[in-house]
């Protein structure tokens, strides 16, 4: 059964008819072709599918598309502007926080949510904020360093 929803993704408004059992991650990837949001487990365990919903990080594989009705979603594609990469993206690039890059979109969005609430997180707060985002490549250290480097009080 299809249901009509209205959702804002990366500041653009969409009216979509989606299957009532379609997940948010599939809506983003398949309907909107925003494949920057990854699927690592589809069980809410890896964080690769993290997006921001009304500013909060959520696992988009655990949500139904219809739950995003009237909500505001930000995906990794929504961070770059005409001026270039978002400072968190830039920091990830420069600090070597990206290896395979599969966890990166979710990781960056979790970092963004953290820094918006807490512009000066300490190391433990950073580690806590990204603890739902698994990374098998980096050992997390360079990710933590990247996030630290963009906190307002470095």
């Amino acid at each position: 059964m299809k249901k009509l929803i209205s959702v804002t993704v990366n500041e653009k408004r969409y009216e979509l008819a989606v299957d009532s059992n379609m997940t948010l991650v599939d809506m983003l990837r398949e309907e909107l072709k925003l494949t920057g949001t990854k699927k690592g487990c589809e069980l809410g365990e890896c964080g690769a599918c993290t997006v921001l919903m009304d500013g909060k990080p959520v696992s988009s594989c655990l949500l139904l598309a219809i739950e995003a009705d009237n909500r505001e979603i930000v995906t990794i594609e929504g961070l770059e502007t005409e001026k270039g990469l978002h400072p968190i993206q830039q920091a990830f690039v420069e600090k070597g926080a990206i290896q395979c890059g599969f966890c990166t979109p979710g990781m960056i969005l979790s970092a963004k949510a953290l820094l918006e609430n807490n512009p000066n997180p300490d190391e433990h707060e950073i580690r806590k904020a990204i603890s739902g985002n698994l990374c098998r490549c980096t050992g997390y250290q360079k990710i933590v360093e990247a996030i630290q480097s963009v906190s307002s009080d470095k």
Partner: protein, 791 residues
């Protein structure tokens, strides 16, 4: 010291911007017009005869375009090593583990494909499931493969020197047994692929692989096609760590489905299938007897190992040899005996995982050496310094150390960790431990017997002279090889990094054995350097001709042509170049000729300038059986100090600090080298503390997910102090060798040794879960109390 313009720096990865924005495409991000979706039918039983397969209900389902079974796939055997080809694409007469592939379906959408797969009727006759080494080796146990009596997949016996005689001369002899559990590589991106068989009979397979070349060969062999008609390309790959280092049944099923349906076929594993496919670290049981002299000289090692292999060989024949041969270093050891068996069981096949074969052996031995140091009253670091090999040494199993910064590594971690202050000085519940590591820098031989080059590379200068385009079939799976090779190309050509473009991971670009055995930086890097130098030489030849000077007087630096002697008139070349670019802005100025001008002139003179390079190891020692596994053009080594705390009430371990030094020969990209070290340590921490694939008594995996197969999160990892040691490897490009796998080697034993320091208990079984640690602490308290009351 040589001054470099690009390498030995911290250049950001060339693909990082695209990966940071979601632009980078991974396999599941790719789609093709009219693609079908594939699904596998996998065995629900661990061991059973197949009596009958009926696909009619599946075929009748609307939307189904192709259904394939062994009747279509045939009975060609494949695997990783030709010495143990024991798999067929689909099960023929029996299934050997839960997850074994029986059939595949392609349909218009995934739901239909999955539904159809579930409609295939299979009649089984259940056989006893052999779920442990004991079950599989019990007298009268059924055979998992008829060709392998007693379910022994491989049986290895090696002896170097004379162990029994040497042990008789030793002052301290110690025997310990150590057991680990089956692991999962647990990369975050599940495997996926799209196969596209075209009307001319050419097949393109896009897949998340570490090894395009081996996959190409296996697909061609199993589908009975010429290798040249199979092209394997990898998009960005979300980690591999070993499990993506061979062709899978899914990949070949997709190819066959595409051939049969005439449409591209897309397939993906879900997380559970990643666990079923497995091909990750074996369960190992090591028993080691080590003999040393009073002064700490390590004399002999008698080593027995049993590996639980699962249902198929996969990399196992290499694994079993590595588990022995990698103890040949980093210590001088004259006598070593190794006896091992790899046993088939009805579980997913184990294969290679970061530190292939050597990780648990290293953990067991480094812990034992610590215990021996204690018996001798020696500092464990002193024991290791006393025995380590040096540059130019050859091990008893004929491994040659062409460069070896072991001393520097040990000293670095000793100094930077504050070892002297902490050893034996930390309160109960806190501990410090150290260990060393040793690993190959690329396998000396391809996995199939061949004289093949291990890699070829070409650097094509674009006709405008502005870009050097590197083509390599090597695989960047996140470790950053594309960036490394771009940096090598830029350095060797003398041009800036931004002027290098890399196309990689495609069998159409040449031969490259791929990302496994920590080979690419040394081997592919060598070929890339040669290709870039070849292109540079061709440009210089033309310029020398034009200017009527000797080639020896010309070099390229920072994108400019530099002449040995002053007063060379470049105006002829420059005006030739400028004439071609009327109306263009930003033409070269100044009195130096740019490489762009020179390369353009070279193109006008000679046509496309392509530099070529290739690499094949020199003859590497060892003629005994199994010598091919462990020989490498170079060896990396490492040392690590771990500090941890144990909650004595709960048994929970917290890793507080890690100091890790690794001899990578020469760091092409320092950030990448540190990243490999930090990532390796994470895998070691996970394996030491919590990772274990668990099974029920039917052979079902109990924890095929990240909530119950726990890998380290950001909260489980401490900060790591990485120290890069550069020993300048003579056989590596600019002196570079491995870091990707060797760095994991010291982690588990350093944790074990720190845990002993904290608790006074030697743990001989992994993982070190709170439950296991707590029980042991309690046991020890009881023993001490009863000991006290007896007194």
């Amino acid at each position: 010291m040589t001054e470099y313009s690009t390498i030995n720096s911290r250049a950001p990865k060339i693909d990082a911007p695209d990966k940071s924005t979601g632009k980078a495409k991974f396999i599941n991000d790719l789609n093709m017009e009219n693609q079908l979706y594939g699904a596998l039918l996998q065995s629900p039983l661990a061991h059973a005869k197949i009596l009958r397969i009926d696909t009619s209900r599946a075929e009748a389902l609307p939307g189904v375009k192709a259904v394939i079974t062994a009747a279509d796939a045939g009975n060609i055997k494949y695997g990783v090593s030709p010495a143990r080809y024991d798999e067929t694409l689909f099960c023929i007469d029996k299934v050997r583990y839960i997850g074994d592939e029986i059939a595949a379906v392609a349909a218009v959408d995934l739901e239909t494909a999955e539904k159809a797969a579930s409609l295939i009727d299979v009649e089984y006759e259940e056989l006893p499931a052999l779920l442990s080494i004991e079950d599989a080796t019990r007298e009268g146990a059924p055979l998992i493969h008829d060709e392998y009596p007693r379910n022994i997949c491989a049986d290895v016996h090696q002896e170097f020197g004379n162990v029994e005689a040497a042990l008789a001369e030793c002052d301290v002899i110690r025997t310990d047994t150590f057991t680990s559990k089956m692991q999962n590589c647990a990369f975050i991106e599940p495997q996926g692929c799209i196969a596209d068989y075209d009307h001319r009979g050419y097949l393109t397979l896009y897949t998340s692989t570490q090894v395009p070349h081996y996959t190409q060969r296996t697909v061609a062999m199993v589908l009975n096609m010429p290798v040249g008609k199979v092209r394997v390309m990898k998009p960005y790959v979300g980690g591999g760590f070993g499990a993506k280092a061979s062709a899978s049944a899914m990949e070949m099923a997709a190819c066959l489905l595409s051939k049969k349906s005439g449409k591209p076929v897309k397939m993906n594993f879900i997380r559970e299938q990643v666990f079923l496919h497995s091909r990750s670290r074996h369960k190992f049981i090591h028993t080691m007897t080590t003999g040393v002299k009073k002064d700490g000289t390590i004399v002999a090692l008698k080593h027995h190992c049993t590996l639980e292999g699962g249902a198929y060989s996969s990399f196992g024949i290499a694994t079993i040899y590595y588990a022995g041969s990698l103890l040949g270093g980093p210590y001088k050891l004259q006598h070593m005996k190794y006896d091992a068996q790899r046993i088939y069981t009805n579980k997913p096949a184990c294969g290679a995982q970061r530190g292939h074969g050597g990780v648990i052996a290293r953990a067991a031995w480094e812990q034992q050496l610590d215990a021996i140091a204690e018996e001798l009253g020696m500092d464990p670091i002193e024991l290791r310094l006393k025995n380590m090999m040096n540059n130019g040494d050859t091990s008893c199993n004929e491994l040659y150390m062409s460069s070896f910064g072991m001393r520097e590594c040990i000293e670095a971690v000793r100094n930077q960790s504050g070892w002297q202050k902490k050893k034996d000085a930390l309160p109960r519940g806190k501990g410090v431990g150290m260990a060393c590591g040793f690993f190959v820098s690329g396998s000396g031989f391809p996995i199939y017997r061949s004289e093949t080059f291990h890699c070829t590379a070409s650097v094509k200068l674009t006709e405008d002279g502005g870009v050097a385009h590197l083509f390599t079939a090597s695989a960047d799976i996140g470790q950053g090889s594309d960036t490394t090779f771009a940096m090598i190309t830029a350095e060797a050509l003398g041009i800036p990094l931004h002027a290098v473009k890399v196309s990689s991971g495609d069998t159409d670009f040449g031969v490259d054995l791929g990302a496994y055995s920590s080979r690419q930086t040394l081997m592919t890097g060598f070929a890339v350097k040669q290709a870039a130098e070849d292109a540079k030489r061709k440009v210089i030849e033309v310029i020398a001709d034009e200017l009527r000077i000797s080639e020896k007087e010309i070099d390229v630096k920072n994108g400019k042509i530099v002449f040995k002697n002053a007063g060379i008139d470049i105006s002829g070349i420059r005006s030739k170049y400028r004439k071609e670019h009327r109306g263009w802005h930003s033409l070269p100025k100044g009195n130096q000729l740019s490489f762009i001008e020179a390369a353009r002139i070279a193109f006008l003179e000679r046509g496309t300038i392509i530099g070529q390079g290739e690499y094949r190891p020199r003859f590497l020692g060892g003629t005994y059986k199994g010598a091919a596994v462990g020989t490498s053009p170079a060896y990396g080594c490492s040392a690590q100090v771990v500090e941890l705390s144990v909650d004595m009430e709960t048994g929970k371990i917290t890793i507080d600090r890690m100091t890790d030094a690794h001899d990578c020969g020469f760091a092409i990209n320092k950030t990448s080298v540190e990243g490999q070290m930090q990532g390796s340590l994470l895998m070691g921490v996970g394996e030491a503390l919590f990772e274990e694939v668990k099974f029920d008594n039917k052979g079902r995996i109990l924890n095929p997910n990240f909530s119950e197969y726990k890998i380290p999160t950001a909260l489980d990892m401490p900060n790591i102090t990485p120290v890069i040691v550069e020993s300048n490897e003579p056989y590596g490009p600019y002196g570079a060798k491995e870091v990707g796998e060797g760095a994991i080697m010291p982690t588990i034993p350093a944790i074990l040794n720190a845990l002993y320091d904290a608790t006074g208990i030697r743990f001989t079984e992994l993982p070190l879960t709170p439950e296991r640690v707590y029980k042991a602490i309690k046991q020890k308290i009881l023993e001490t109390e009863s000991g006290n009351s007896e007194k």
